[in-house]
């Protein structure tokens, strides 16, 4: 039987549906339903407007990363992506008109995906799409959208552009809209997280997606477990073996906690799902987790290779010291103070004989 999806056999299509069921943690009995939903969706082709603000397009690159069968191909065939800055053929007025047409034709039905942070300083002129600021676009397009999905750390929480937000005023989509949105953070977002959320939206509807969000607005299916609890190096943590020197081959596979691993703070299913079509993920590649799915990322997790954040010295802009340095300085001052006082006490012959006068003696 020929699939409605070009170049994809029925067998491959059902395999893909099975992988989606596994991705969402659903039972196999849902496979026919998924297939039906995808086929139904493909007929109606829910329109998608995908826009980018202050972004590196990394989430798009991640999203169109190949897999067998390629999720990008499949989802781009299922969904009708009316506007996407990187992968659309149109340019100029034709492209911008596609947004306007979609907003009119599919009012209240289109899915609005936003990637990247939104600079709100100086009227939003740090990021403009078609001579209109990205902030104004988001406010206008999100108004009539069926669902607004923020993809990547920047759109979800501000991410790297918000690390020095005084300059551009980089904000998340939720900061601009003032209403909760579905967030798929990550730097970049995992393609499974994006596809899984979209398929869940097609399968179970908007309310199911919104009900399944955690307190930061992330789908619980993907962001429900702590990296540290599923880490393949967890046994080294328990055994007290830590990487202290990246150049020592003996330590190569030890726990990365002391090298600033943010796994104990970070909720995502990377250790189980893995990246690049299930090949690897940060910790398996000897890199500490940077906590890219958390609201703290980037600035509140920096320095990324230190265990604790650093403390700014008031009055000296841009100069930060580690907690251990402060503790050492305070410790030395205390010991020096005690030493000086002890010398004074011995010199005055007061050692051990001081203290308040006995009460009641007077």
């Amino acid at each position: 039987m020929e699939s409605i999806f070009k170049g994809l056999s029925r067998r491959d299509f059902l395999k893909y549906c099975a992988s989606i069921a596994a991705m969402l943690g659903l039972s196999e009995i849902y496979i026919p339903q998924i297939a039906a939903a995808l086929e139904e969706a493909a007929k109606g082709k829910p329109p998608v407007i995908w826009m980018q603000g202050q972004s590196c397009a990394g989430c798009t690159i991640s999203f169109i990363n190949p897999r067998e069968p390629t999720p990008a191909e499949l989802v781009l065939d299922i969904l009708s992506v009316r506007f996407h800055p990187n992968i659309m053929a149109a340019a100029g007025d034709v492209a911008l008109n596609a947004i306007e047409t979609t907003m009119e034709e599919a009012k209240g039905k289109y899915v609005y995906i936003f990637e990247g942070a939104l600079p709100k300083a100086e009227g939003g002129r740090f990021c403009e799409i078609g001579e209109t600021s990205a902030v104004d676009w988001v406010k206008r397009v999100a108004k009539d959208a069926h669902v607004v999905i923020a993809i990547g750390a920047c759109a979800s929480f501000g991410g790297i552009p918000a690390a020095n937000r005084e300059t551009t005023g980089a904000s998340s989509v939720q900061d601009i809209l003032g209403t909760p949105v579905v967030k798929i953070p990550g730097c970049p977002a995992h393609p499974d997280w994006v596809i899984g959320t979209v398929v869940k939206l097609l399968l179970f509807g908007k309310d199911a997606v919104l009900d399944g969000l955690d307190k930061y607005g992330r789908p619980k299916e993907f962001y429900g477990t702590l990296i540290h609890d599923n880490c393949p190096r967890r046994h080294w943590f328990e055994a007290g073996k830590f990487v202290e020197d990246f150049n020592d081959p003996e330590q190569a596979n030890y726990c990365l906690l002391l090298k600033g691993c943010k796994g104990p703070f970070t909720y995502a299913d990377c250790p189980k799902r893995k990246w690049n079509a299930g090949t690897n993920f940060c910790i398996d590649a000897n890199a500490p987790c940077q906590g890219c799915t958390q609201p703290e990322f980037y600035v509140k997790f920096s320095p990324l290779y230190e265990k604790l954040p650093e403390i700014g010295i008031p009055g000296i802009a841009g100069y930060e010291v580690s907690a251990d340095t402060i503790a050492k300085v305070l410790g030395i001052v205390t010991v020096a103070g005690i030493g000086l006082h002890l010398v004074g006490q011995i010199a005055t012959g007061r050692l051990g004989k001081g203290g308040p006068p006995e009460r009641g003696e007077k």
Binding site: K215, F237, E238, A239, G240, K241, F242, L258, K262, F265, Y267, G291, Q294, P295, E296, K300, F301, K307, L308, P309, I311, A323, I326, A327, L330, G331, T334, V335, I338, H341, L342, G344, Q345, A347, T348, R350, L351, G352, G354, G355, P356, P357, E358, R359, G360, K362
Partner: protein, 196 residues
């Protein structure tokens, strides 16, 4: 010498021992959790940390209850009064060896009142809140604290720096009680009446 019995009654001494043991256990196990210095002890150290944490909190509540409603209530010894401003100057002058005679300032001098009666209980409550925020990072009870300080990494930083605040003030406390007033040290620990 019978009057000295009223200085540190037995309940106060017992609570002081419990507090010392627990704070020692908390500092050592907390340091291990921060940076394990031998292998394989994470489970035990976390267990020690949590047990000591609960005991020290119960001890704190008991001490506060005892200070206000106990048989030998001593809350008034820690309350700050206007004359403490003058007494602070006197005690600093004494500690800097400018004056030889210890001034008459009551059971505790103003810096002692501040540290024992205010700083340590407040730091302990603060440490408990930040500790619970780390203990249940997905729970909602102390999420407001995590949000307030800007994320779990900063909660950990604050928890760690507060430990240093404890270590430094305890170092001063131990030094002064040993070098300045050895008889009160003996009495607080062993209930021994100093010979004169």
């Amino acid at each position: 010498m019978a009057r000295m019995v009223e200085e540190h009654p037995l309940p106060a001494r017992v609570m002081h021992w419990i507090h010392l043991l627990c704070m020692g256990g908390l500092a050592i196990s907390g340091w291990y959790i921060h940076r394990p210095f031998f292998g394989g002890g994470m489970g035990i150290m976390r267990w020690v940390h949590f047990i000591c944490m609960y005991v020290v909190l119960i001890n704190l509540v008991t001490r506060i209850y005892w200070a206000f409603l106990g048989a030998a209530r001593d809350w008034h010894e820690f309350s700050l009064r206007p004359r403490d401003i003058r007494n602070t100057v006197k005690i600093v002058v004494y500690y800097l060896f400018i004056k030889r005679e210890h001034p008459e300032v009551g059971k505790y001098n103003p810096p002692q009142k501040l540290i024992y009666g205010w700083l340590w209980p407040l730091l302990l409550i603060f440490q408990a809140i930040s500790g619970f925020a780390l203990y249940g990072p997905t729970a909602d009870y102390f999420a407001w604290f995590t949000v307030w300080v800007g994320g779990l990494a900063h909660v950990r930083l604050i928890h760690y720096m507060t430990m240093w605040a404890f270590i430094i003030t305890v170092a001063l406390h131990v030094y002064l009680s040993l070098a300045e007033d050895f008889k009160s040290f003996l009495y607080m620990f062993f209930g021994v009446r100093p010979e004169e």
